[in-house]
């Protein structure tokens, strides 16, 4: 696109224009996603609670409810409390939105369908998601309200704690696949669903739930939504916000939910690979067929991610909220040791090459999602077959031999 614009205008302007258009497109995705998830949340919550949820706006299922709400929020007065630090108060929602938006950059939607093919995507995603906390802290701090301050403080303590187990959980697929590139991790899980990393061994199965718990905590959802605990803190960090700024926090929250669910889908659930390899041959055929296969993969991926979000919604409307000390206890006493235990367990499983469900699928005997280093198995034979295995690491292993 930049090249196209560059024909008609100076390159700098062209790049800026391109960047703005891309940004607007991604923001559209975020916005539409948030609208959909807010509607879904209300609908699911309604069904869970024996009621209908929105029914009127936009037809039978209240399709347009969140759009109507959005318009309402747009027209609301933008209030800043007299005690607030006005600049920071105004900026905080954007600070919250930007990282969750940036995280979409590195999240692959299908093989190669990714905004920015980055080698350290997993790390980047976790890092960027951790930044979202700044918006919350700033909002809590700048609001000039004691309840907001409480929310900000809680959020700071909570997110810093939960980044540790979250990182540990994220590192397990990385180690199993020998790469931090999400595209590679996803591709390695091609084949039958037995090849998904969650079914790789008992430890990865366990660690997914640890990951999910920590992810819920890190995106500040119930039962870990301490920063906005309405029964204690009124609305926590966004108590003083109104209108569109208030809704930015929600767009950020729902987008982060999508991102962590997407990350879970790629890291544990085979990403864009369906449970049954229907599109594998199409993909191999290349050309238009590959695009169709990728499109199917993209739909597959989105379904998985949305399923994760729905799970979070379900949890939210079922469980009571934990107390702040219990949240930290959950993290430090349960999640961190469990993640560490699973880390050691999964790597040992890999090291000793213990059986994995994929071994029992006849067609897929060799295609197990994992790096199989010859030096680790003590054999010199070239048994590793996965396409994504880093050649460099193989090089490195030669040094040892």
């Amino acid at each position: 696109m930049a090249e196209f614009f560059a024909q008609y205008m100076p390159a700098g302007v062209a790049y800026t224009l391109t960047a703005l258009i891309s940004a607007a497109l991604l923001l559209g995705v975020v916005g539409v996603g948030a609208l959909f998830f807010i509607w879904a949340e209300r609908k699911v919550a309604g069904r869970i609670q024996d009621r209908l949820g929105p029914t009127r706006t936009g037809g039978k299922f209240g399709w347009l409810q969140s759009l109507a709400d959005g318009i309402k929020l747009l027209t609301k007065e933008d209030i800043a409390p007299a005690d607030a630090d006005k600049t920071l108060f105004r900026l905080a929602p954007y600070v919250s939105l930007a990282p969750s938006y940036a995280a979409l950059l590195a999240l692959p939607f299908a093989d190669g369908w990714v905004g920015w093919e980055i080698n350290t995507a997993m790390f980047f995603l976790l890092a960027v998601l951790g930044l979202e906390v700044f918006g919350v802290i700033l909002a809590g701090y700048a609001s000039g309200s004691k309840w907001s301050l409480f929310g900000g403080m809680r959020q700071a303590a909570q997110v810093v704690s939960y980044e540790v187990p979250l990182g540990m959980c994220g590192v397990i697929p990385v180690f199993l696949c020998g790469t931090m590139s999400l595209t590679t991790i996803g591709n390695m899980q091609a084949g039958w669903f037995t090849n998904w990393l969650i079914f790789h061994d008992p430890f990865t199965f366990l660690v997914f739930w640890v990951y999910f718990t920590c992810a819920v905590a890190s995106v500040n959802r119930a039962p870990f939504d301490l920063a906005e605990a309405e029964s204690e803190l009124v609305a926590g960090f966004h108590t003083e916000y109104s209108g569109l700024r208030w809704s930015f926090f929600f767009m950020a929250e729902y987008n982060s939910m999508l991102v962590v669910s997407g990350l879970a889908a790629v890291a544990f659930f085979g990403g864009w690979n369906g449970p049954v390899p229907i599109f594998a041959s199409w993909k191999a055929a290349g050309g238009g067929w590959e695009i169709v296969a990728n499109l199917a993969g993209c739909i597959n991926f989105i379904m998985k991610a949305v399923l994760g979000v729905m799970l979070m919604i379900w949890v939210r409307w079922t469980l009571p909220r934990l107390r702040i000390d219990q949240v930290i206890t959950t993290c430090l006493k349960y999640c961190v040791p469990l993640a560490a235990f699973c880390f050691v367990g999964a790597l040992s499983w890999q090291l000793f090459d213990l059986p994995s469900p994929n071994d029992w699928v006849p067609a897929e005997r060799a295609g197990r999602a994992a790096v199989r280093e010859p030096w680790a198995r003590g054999t010199t034979g070239s048994t590793q077959s996965s396409a994504g295995t880093s050649a460099r690491l193989a090089q490195g292993s030669e040094v040892h031999r």
Binding site: A229, S231, W317, T318, P320, R321, R323, I324
Partner: protein
């Protein structure tokens, strides 16, 4: 230069840094217009001071200007979640002054209605307690069932919330035909639903973590503060006015088989399949107060079933409301009844005219709330809604 700088130093002192925050009167978890002034040291609450009176409507003063029957709607608006039980307390108090003998049928009608009111009230208490702990769904499950009770009330008296049904001399009307069958159908449907509440709250691990061992109130403290109802029994005090009250009230429950819901020797009376008491729970904590309410609901179902049978076989009249301007005998009476939230007392002083010289309502929540200051001292911020919620207060009754 150093001295010049010193003038700009803002004095800070971390060790006495206490944050003074207002929880309420506009706060999502204070059950109406209650205002708690909290002094917090980080997340730890060092001091709580409840401020009440935001819903004060001078009911006692109004009572000095109305006849007892005219005051009935004002009792509705005290504990508006258990209006029937408020009506009952005042009616019994007036009848005590009049030495009125109630027909058999009216007695059973009152038992049925009062126990239904107890269920309806406990359902709100239970659901709202879930809200206090951050879960929304049980609240709606509770209200779904409560609505059915309110439907029954509506059918009996025409009103859902402020019923003014039970009145000195009986009730304003007999139960309509077919009502008993509907009531029985409701009970049959409702009884299994209770398991849902137990699954969502009572036995939920997070719920237990949030309530067990929190806000522990010893039996002595509960008695000393005049706490009554589930709050008192949650502390293990075997005291229920339906059994231990004065005759005017207990004779209403003559012939009914029920046990006082209180933990004895580590067990609650077991005539149903209740979930077990978790090992973390300490007698007198939030969990026990909640659990007592849950068990009282089951027990109320039993009592209503008995009441329906009694009512069916009862002979005679369902009672007649006293005349609006009945002259009250000179004297004074005090009567407490076991309302869902505790012992609701009415004190009536009469100088011989049709209008009481003084009416006084002894509010159960008023006493129950007075423990907050001591109960919340040193707890965490998130425990304040948990503790206040477990007292299950209704501001209308506290402020009157």
């Amino acid at each position: 230069m150093a001295t010049a700088n010193r003038e700009q130093i803002i004095e800070l002192d971390v060790r006495t840094d206490e944050l003074l925050v207002n929880m309420g009167p506009q706060h999502p978890s204070t059950h109406g217009v209650l205002r708690l002034v909290l002094k917090t040291d980080g997340e730890i609450v060092t001091h709580v001071e409840p401020h009440i009176g935001y819903l004060h409507r001078c009911a006692e003063k109004i009572g000095e200007n109305l006849t007892p029957r005219q005051w009935i709607p004002y009792t509705d608006r005290m504990d508006y979640l258990a209006a029937m039980n408020m009506n009952l307390g005042w009616s019994l108090c007036v009848e005590k002054l009049l030495q009125y003998e109630l027909p058999e049928k009216a007695r059973h009608l009152r038992v049925i209605i009062a126990e239904l009111g107890r269920i309806a009230s406990h359902l709100v208490g239970m659901g709202a307690y879930g809200l206090d702990l951050g879960t929304f769904s049980p609240f709606l499950y509770a209200f779904r069932e409560r609505e059915k009770i309110l439907n029954l009330f509506e059918e009996a008296c025409g009103a859902r919330l402020t019923n003014s049904y039970i009145t000195p001399g009986g009730a304003t009307a007999d139960l309509p035909p077919g009502w008993l069958e509907k009531c029985e159908a409701f009970l049959d449907q409702f009884e299994p639903v209770i398991a849902e509440y137990h699954a969502l709250l009572t036995t939920n691990a997070i719920f237990i973590q949030r309530t067990a061992g929190i806000g522990v109130m010893s039996a002595e403290m509960a008695i000393d503060y005049g706490c009554t109802g589930p709050v008192l029994r949650g502390s293990g005090v075997d005291h229920d006015l339906r059994r231990d009250g004065e005759e005017r009230y207990t004779e209403m429950y003559d012939g009914y088989a029920f046990e006082v819901i209180v933990q004895k020797d580590g067990h609650y009376p077991r005539d149903h399949d209740y979930p077990p008491v978790p090992p973390e729970a300490v007698l007198g904590d939030c969990w026990h107060r909640f659990y007592v309410r849950m068990l009282e609901v089951v027990q109320a179902i039993d009592i209503i079933r008995q009441g329906i049978e009694f009512y069916r076989s009862a002979e005679g009249d369902w009672g007649h409301p006293i005349k609006l301007n009945t002259k009250l005998p000179k004297g004074e009476v005090y009567l407490e009844t076991e309302c869902p939230r505790g012992q609701m007392g009415f004190y009536l002083v009469s100088d011989g005219s049709a209008i009481p010289w003084r009416t006084r309502a002894r509010s159960s929540c008023f006493c129950n709330l007075s423990v907050t200051e001591e109960l919340c001292r040193g707890c965490l911020l998130a425990d304040v809604p948990a503790i206040v919620g477990s007292l299950d207060i209704v501001m209308g009754e506290i402020d009157r």
